[in-house]
């Protein structure tokens, strides 16, 4: 259906000059084309990476001015100007993207507005370069093989080519692992970092590609209107782009196209009926009304009317068939626990023979697979949450970190995985310090965590959640992705297949295409685990994996954790449920008041007098027989 629509649309777009003769109508269409490029470029940042840029007109203006200046001062050709305009905007986008390193959300919006404001002031005041408020008249028309494109029809085809390039670039980016990284950052930045997605890097990539496309649109605009003035920086341009993206549907490929056409043609159509000021009032009211009545935009609204399904990312065909028996079972954990070992072995992240040999020879190479925490201290203002914690996690073991609330367990996790900067001490992974690294870099080295609060990418399907988890398994860079290389496509298929296997292993095959945010609590925790497993951990840090689970679910969870360990993944668990802890752990470490108070095998810990005092208070007499030390541990939110 949508394919047919797209084909019809393309046919109509190509044949337009044959059945529309009016230069005015063609002019409107040319402007629509330029706005399609602009809206699509903004959509990369706003719709996919989730960062609103209200300075987008600056990139547009930089492209326009660069192109016009090169043509007027140096008599460069349109094509050279187009390339340079795009490049100049990309450089500006890179600079702005680096700012995203520090600020997000509303602050990012303000940085982009300010950036556009400064650029606009420069364009007005730098008379020698820009000719100030009067602008640069007489930008030449582009030439193709010596023929100047003076007619509207000819320019229409040039812009159509630009639109095709922009849509293709967006499409390839969005459907690649790069696009998934954008969306992952939008949906849940902390989780994205935990599977190795470098937030700064990908936000910069989003900003650069977005700015470059806007610069290209600027260049097309400059050679079309033949006049570039500071007007190109007008805030209303940016607002128009935002309305186009939001109205059409942010985070969809066709949304900005629909929005751009609609909001170029509509104001022109209204022009005769309504005064310009009324139109702007209407624009404002429309933006408010859109947020209230059509928050996801026209395209998604139409799509969900046609088929009520999860808004999944584009999915290549998955070749692995999910076992139907598993798919049908509702109690997912039990499924995973009862899956035949052979199937499980095939499905778990496989490790190379060399790696396995290495961990088997752990004694010979003391650093291999060994996580050492040395004298770790974390301060929050005057409060010392961790004061000199040291412990060691042996390869291929299950180690539990327990302690009363406020003992510093989650703080320790945060400090180990780079979410908190410790005030002193070191974390060594295989003999090398990882203390000052970013979470994504730590994940890259094989140390992967889950979160205490259930943490998934709520808007993505289960399949896409796991595909994001597989981020580090992909190799395709942006150049290969944009070029649409075959190996990129092959890699995508391999990753999708692998995601299918991991989903089956976690017992979620029946939920593959449902949005993770819509699953019941227990299954969301499974998705979380699947995402972490997809990142191929060598050490997996689980923060209260069984919190809030029923007894049966907990038993299944223990089995699953043990099987993860048996696949050669070292596991470090924070957990309150003592039955579970004592059942799965090779070693138990007890934290209290930011210090390690005991360490040893489960039996020894249960009898340890200081542990009992920490949990039950100083007055508690004698160790409780086999009862859970801390009760069943209330689930913390």
């Amino acid at each position: 259906m949508s394919r047919l629509l797209a084909a019809l649309g393309a046919l109509a777009a190509v044949t337009v000059p044959l059945w529309i003769a009016s230069p005015y109508h063609l002019h409107v269409l040319i402007m629509a084309g330029i706005f399609i490029v602009l809206a699509s470029s903004l959509n990369l940042l706003l719709g996919y990476a989730g960062q609103l840029s209200l300075g987008h007109a600056a990139f547009f203006g930089i492209g326009a001015y660069t192109s016009a200046l090169l043509a007027l001062r140096l008599e460069w050709s349109f094509w050279a100007g187009l390339v340079c305009g795009t490049a100049a905007a990309a450089v500006a986008g890179w600079a702005i993207g680096r700012l995203a390193l520090k600020v997000r959300g509303a602050y990012f919006v303000l940085v982009t507005i300010s950036f556009a404001g400064v650029i606009s002031l420069v364009s007005v005041n730098w008379m020698e370069l820009t000719n100030g408020p009067l602008g640069l008249p007489g930008v030449p028309a582009p030439e193709v093989l010596g023929w100047p494109l003076r007619s509207k029809a000819a320019y229409y085809y040039l812009v159509l080519g630009g639109v095709a390039v922009a849509v293709l670039v967006c499409r390839r980016l969005v459907r690649s692992r790069i696009g998934r990284a954008f969306v992952a950052l939008r949906e849940n930045e902390a989780l994205a970092e935990s599977v190795g997605i470098d937030a700064v890097h990908y936000l910069v990539v989003a900003a650069v590609s977005s700015a470059a496309l806007a610069g290209m649109a600027g260049s097309l605009y400059a050679h079309y209107t033949r006049l570039v003035s500071p007007e190109v920086f007008l805030f209303s341009y940016t607002v128009t782009m935002v309305i186009m993206v939001v109205a059409g549907g942010k985070g969809t490929l066709s949304g900005p196209v629909v929005g751009a056409v609609l909001f170029t043609v509509l104001p022109e159509a209204l022009r005769e009926v309504v005064a310009w000021q009324w139109q702007m009032v209407l624009y404002g009211v429309l933006l408010v009304a859109l947020v209230f009545f059509l928050p996801r935009g026209i395209v998604p609204a139409l799509a969900s009317r046609r088929r009520r399904r999860a808004p999944a990312l584009e999915t290549p065909p998955v070749t692995v068939a999910a076992r139907p028996a598993e798919a049908a079972r509702p109690d997912a954990f039990a499924t995973a626990a009862t899956a035949p070992p052979a199937a499980a072995a095939a499905a778990t992240p496989k490790r190379s023979a060399a790696e396995r040999a290495e961990s088997a020879a752990g004694q010979a190479a003391p650093a291999a697979g060994r996580l050492v925490v040395r004298d770790l201290g974390v301060r929050f203002g005057g409060v010392e949450a961790l004061s000199g914690v040291s412990f060691e996690v042996r390869p291929d073991s299950v180690t539990s970190l327990i302690g009363p609330n406020g003992a510093g367990k989650t703080t320790a996790f945060n400090a180990i995985t780079g979410y908190l900067r410790p005030s002193r001490g070191d974390v060594l992974w295989e003999g090398r310090p990882i203390t000052r690294l970013r979470p994504s870099e730590i994940a890259r080295r094989g140390v992967v965590r889950t979160f205490q609060k259930t943490s998934v990418f709520p808007g993505l399907s289960v399949l896409d959640n796991v595909r994001v988890g597989l981020h580090l398994r992909g190799r395709a860079g942006w150049a290969a992705t944009l070029a649409g290389r075959r190996r990129v496509r092959e890699e995508e298929q391999a990753l999708a297949a692998e995601a299918g296997e991991i989903i089956a292993f976690a017992g979620l095959a029946g939920r593959r295409d449902e949005p993770a945010g819509a699953l019941p609590y227990g299954e969301q925790r499974l998705v979380e685990l699947a995402v972490a497993l997809a990142a191929r951990p060598r050490v997996l840090l689980l923060d209260e994996p069984a919190a809030g689970m029923t007894t049966a679910e907990k038993a299944a969870a223990s089995a699953l954790i043990r099987r993860i360990r048996d696949r050669g993944v070292t596991v470090l668990v924070v957990e309150h449920d003592m039955r579970l802890v004592m059942g799965i752990s090779d070693t138990v470490i007890v934290l209290n008041g930011g210090r390690v108070i005991a360490e040893g095998p489960p039996a020894a810990i249960q009898a340890h007098p200081e542990v009992i005092r920490a949990y039950l208070g100083a007055g508690a007499a004698g160790p409780p027989a086999s009862a859970p030390v801390g009760g069943t541990g209330p689930a913390r939110s």
Partner: protein, 290 residues
């Protein structure tokens, strides 16, 4: 040196009203997590209210400022009640889009209502400047500075000495707990938005007679307000006050010593520099994470 003093005094006059803008915005931003893109239009509304009161109804200057305060508060309360309350709990991006819509609609409605020609507001104060040694200052500017000081002091009193202020501070720190303690946070939100809007309108009414009044005057005012908030840190009242004064003086110095064409760049550069170097604002103390 004489010039410097003159610039400082001029900057102080501007800075006082910028502080009013900033205090309103920082309260709304800090308390409701709403980026009020219509703040500039509330400022413009205040200026037109003063214009109508002084040029058309010909009331007393201070009555006109009071009228602007009331109209601003009413407009703010209406916007909050009608548009923001139904979106309570939505993401900051959603409310931001709504406020951008309000800003565009309001600015163009003002354009339709009052026309695009810049208007000057008549005022009753003598035009001959008072000369104090090396510094000369128009009496009107002195009145503006004094009125801004009174309004800033009034804001401090409301926030630190009244029940409403207590509820506002509680909501700022932790809306959930405040609600559990019986604070009706919806009302606090409406009151906060009205309060911030009233201050913005007052700033417009005060600066309107100093400069000219035109429908898009709010664009730069909003940006100034944002840079003041960013300078001072989110929800930080003394920060916003100081930030306003710093911005006013920075603009005057920039216009005086660099180039008057780049006067408006001060605000932009402050935003960029502060966010780059010290994102939590100049006056923020280190906070406990998590």
């Amino acid at each position: 040196m004489e010039q410097l003093l003159q610039h400082l005094v001029n900057g102080l006059v501007l800075g006082g009203t910028y502080a009013l803008l900033g205090i309103g915005l920082t309260l709304i931003f800090g308390l409701m997590n709403v980026v009020n893109f219509a703040h500039g239009e509330l400022y413009t509304l205040g200026a037109y209210a003063a214009f109508t009161a002084l040029a058309v109804a010909q009331v007393d200057f201070f009555v006109a400022v009071a009228a602007a305060l009331v109209i601003g508060a009413a407009a703010g309360a209406t916007v909050e009640r009608v548009l923001l309350r139904p979106l309570h709990g939505e993401s900051i991006d959603t409310t931001m889009l709504v406020m951008i819509g309000v800003s565009i609609a309001a600015q163009n409605a003002l354009l339709l209502g009052f026309g695009g020609v810049a208007k000057s507001i008549p005022h009753p104060f003598p035009t001959a400047p008072l000369v104090l040694g090396p510094v000369s200052i128009a009496p009107l500017r002195l009145v503006v500075l004094a009125a801004a000081a009174v309004l800033i002091a009034g804001s401090y009193l409301v926030i630190h000495r009244t029940r409403l202020g207590q509820a506002m501070r509680a909501t700022f720190q932790d809306p959930d707990t405040a609600q559990l303690m019986g604070v009706r946070i919806h009302r606090v939100h409406t009151a906060t938005f009205a309060f911030g809007a009233a201050l913005a309108a007052a700033a417009g009414a005060l600066l309107g007679p100093v400069f000219l009044v035109y429908p898009s005057m709010g664009d730069l005012a909003a940006l100034r307000a944002f840079s003041v908030v960013i300078l001072g840190g989110l929800g930080n009242l003394p920060g916003a006050t100081l930030g306003g004064l710093i911005l006013g003086i920075a603009e005057e110095l920039g216009a005086g010593y660099v180039s008057s064409g780049y006067r408006d760049a001060a605000g932009f550069l402050i935003i960029i520099a502060v966010l780059l170097l010290r994102p939590s604002g100049l006056f923020a103390r280190a906070e406990r994470i998590g």
